[in-house]
């Protein structure tokens, strides 16, 4: 793939290419840029690994995440004195295998990220595009509602919702999605406003493009770069906020092996059992970091202005 990009056909060249061929070319082009960023490829690798762990958690994990081994309370990791290979990363205060709990925790983090980002991205883009394109009273109403939501810190609103609805992962995810959405709306709207005055938009309008075409085909692709950055960042925000709620005892409830909840249980062992505190946080950090690395690579590969400079 090293001979790319000079002999790639440009997407808007007058020749008609069939639809699947074009998207295949785009994907190929995207990948050729994406693979140049080593961090992004590493991130992608870890993300794929985490996804596989989540899918095959039952097969991979050496123990059940909730089984308590009564003879093995707070057993240190295998390489420390007193550790055993039976429990590679040690056990927690009630004798559950840390490694198995961490592996099963991947399911929760991925689930949280997917749901939260999907909800907030779709609704955020639609609202932002509408507000920025039409302006006037539509813009005013949308932005005022967003201001009301933005007036509460995500974690606080989530906490309050939990107080109303009772602690659960689902309620926390809904709250986090609602509070993340205004960031997309604001970003999209700001991009749309600054892009609308560009010549290519005017040209497109003069050439007779309709409202929907202008919004979704002319404007949106040129507004996507910061949105993709934001989407990856909020994938991590979603995982982090949900973990924070778990940590405060208001998210996923024990014995669910959600990483934040694991940390909440670990607080009292801060000076006696370092592994109970360190590993869940490390799992959150690595997963979130990988998503961010991957997102950065996607941004570099997708932004036409940055990638050719």
């Amino acid at each position: 793939m090293r001979e790319i990009p000079s002999d790639m056909p440009t997407l808007n060249s007058g020749e008609k290419t069939s639809e699947p061929e074009t998207s295949w070319m785009r994907l190929k082009e995207f990948w050729s840029y994406f693979r140049e960023n080593k961090g992004a490829v590493v991130g992608l690798g870890v993300v794929v690994f985490v996804i596989l762990l989540a899918i095959f958690a039952d097969v991979v994990a050496p123990h059940s995440p909730i089984e308590q081994y009564r003879d093995h309370f707070l057993r240190p990791p295998a390489w420390q004195d007193g550790g055993s290979w039976q429990f590679f990363l040690g056990t927690d205060a009630v004798g559950r295998d840390m490694l198995s709990r961490l592996i099963h925790g991947t399911r929760y983090s991925l689930f949280i990220g997917c749901i939260v980002v999907s909800i907030s991205l779709v609704s955020g883009i639609s609202l932002g595009l509408t507000a920025g394109y039409f302006g006037g009273w539509i813009d005013t109403i949308i932005m005022r509602v967003m201001d009301v939501i933005l007036s509460y810190p995500s974690l606080l609103l989530a906490l309050v919702l939990v107080a109303i609805l009772g602690p659960s992962l689902i309620n926390a995810m809904i709250a986090i999605a609602i509070v993340l959405q205004p960031h997309y709306v604001r970003l999209t709207r700001a991009q749309v406003i600054s892009e609308s005055s560009r010549d290519y938009v005017t040209a497109s309008r003069v050439a007779g493009a309709g409202t929907l075409r202008l919004m979704f085909i002319t404007l949106l692709p040129n507004c996507m770069a910061p949105l993709i950055v934001q989407a990856t960042l909020s994938f991590s925000t979603a995982i982090l906020d949900a973990a924070a709620l778990g940590f405060l005892g208001m998210g996923a409830q024990p014995p669910t092996p959600e990483w934040g909840t694991l940390l909440a249980d670990a607080r009292e062992f801060i000076s006696s059992a370092w592994w109970v505190v360190t590993f869940p946080g490390l799992a959150i950090l690595i997963t979130v970091l990988s998503f961010n690395l991957m997102g950065d690579g996607m941004r570099d590969a997708l932004d036409p202005k940055l990638k050719r400079s």
């Binding site: 009301v148 960042l233 405060l248 970091l289």
Partner: protein, 336 residues
């Protein structure tokens, strides 16, 4: 500019009403009613229940209750705490300086490190410095700060013994609060070692709270710089033979700052959310910890008042951000 200012302030009114409706609804959405919460486990007889409902005005139509809530709000009355019976506004104002002090230090830490790092990384794209800054920023952004706080306590407090674990100042010192800001008060008190003690208590919470905003600011600044440096007017400025620092500082940075200012403004919400975690871990007596405690104690009037006050603070900051946005980007100001 004055018209722009008035228009922006005018826009705050519907937001304020929206926020007050949410705070008002909260206490009425919790399962059971406020009187049952007040009575707790003991419960109340139906007659006493009705009496109390009337006493607190919960039996009147909702719109009537809302307008009374709004009118009290405008007079600075947020009601009294169910648990301590103190006026909510007093409790809030006593605790707020602690959070303000911590947040101010955190955002200062974030901007002082994040902004220059982002600018240099953007200008020297692809350099070792760029890679270092971006890697650090990514790790910082991906950091669960409650975990970072715990690790820092293990390392710096338990193992090395460099910094205290919790609170705002050592118990050895006592003085009447003047400003509510421990750094200033301890300095004013003139007691030897008091300022040092206050400062050492601030270090770990500041780092924990400032880490994410710092990373966000560095990333956003770099990304904005890259975008702007590719523009024609920057090329023109360079072609005119302007010295590089002038091109970067005046032509590029000014335009790159437009999205960055918005980002910094949005960090206030991040800071207040972070304060909830940071204050809980470091037992920092601010409004973040107070809100969490109030939720756990089911002190719903305090939660309602806190929601209102926190939202009001964020609204004011958003207003300032919008005004700055108009100041540094005249195009926005004139197009509306």
């Amino acid at each position: 500019m004055i018209r722009f200012l008035l228009a922006r302030i005018g826009l705050l009114i519907p937001t304020f009403i929206g926020v007050s409706i949410i705070a008002f609804s909260f206490i009425r959405l919790i399962p059971g009613d406020p009187i049952e919460v007040l009575a707790g486990e003991r419960g109340v007889s139906p007659e006493r229940h009705a009496e109390l409902m009337a006493q607190f005005g919960y039996d009147r139509p909702l719109w009537e209750q809302y307008f009374e809530f709004l009118s009290n709000l405008l007079h600075g009355d947020l009601g009294s705490s169910i648990v301590t019976r103190q006026p909510v506004i007093d409790e809030f104002l006593t605790l707020f300086p602690a959070t303000l002090e911590l947040s101010a230090m955190a955002i200062l830490f974030a901007v002082i490190i994040g902004l220059p790092a982002g600018v240099i990384a953007g200008v020297k794209r692809g350099s070792v410095f760029d890679h270092t800054v971006m890697t650090t920023a990514l790790v910082g952004y991906s950091m669960p700060i409650f975990w970072l706080g715990l690790l820092m306590i293990i390392l710096f407090s338990s193992i090395l013994g460099w910094t205290p674990v919790s609170g705002r100042i050592s118990f050895l010192y006592y003085f009447e609060p003047v400003t509510g800001f421990m750094l200033i008060d301890s300095y004013l008190s003139g007691q030897e070692g008091a300022f040092r003690s206050a400062l050492s208590h601030l270090v770990l919470p500041t780092i924990a709270l400032g880490t994410i905003p710092m990373a966000v600011i560095a990333r956003q600044t770099r990304s904005a710089m890259l975008e702007v440096l590719g523009e024609d007017y920057v090329r023109t400025a360079r072609a005119k033979g302007l010295p590089p620092y002038r091109v970067i500082a005046i032509h590029a940075l000014r335009n790159a700052l437009i999205p960055v200012v918005t980002t910094i403004g949005l960090q206030v919400g991040v800071l207040l959310a972070g304060a909830i975690l940071t204050e809980t871990i470091f037992s920092w007596p601010g409004i973040g910890k107070w809100m969490v405690d109030s939720i756990f104690r089911r002190d719903y009037t305090s939660v309602q008042g806190g929601l209102m006050m926190i939202a009001a603070i964020i609204m004011v900051v958003n207003l300032i951000v919008d005004l700055l946005y108009g100041l540094i980007n005249p195009r926005i100001r004139h197009t509306r």
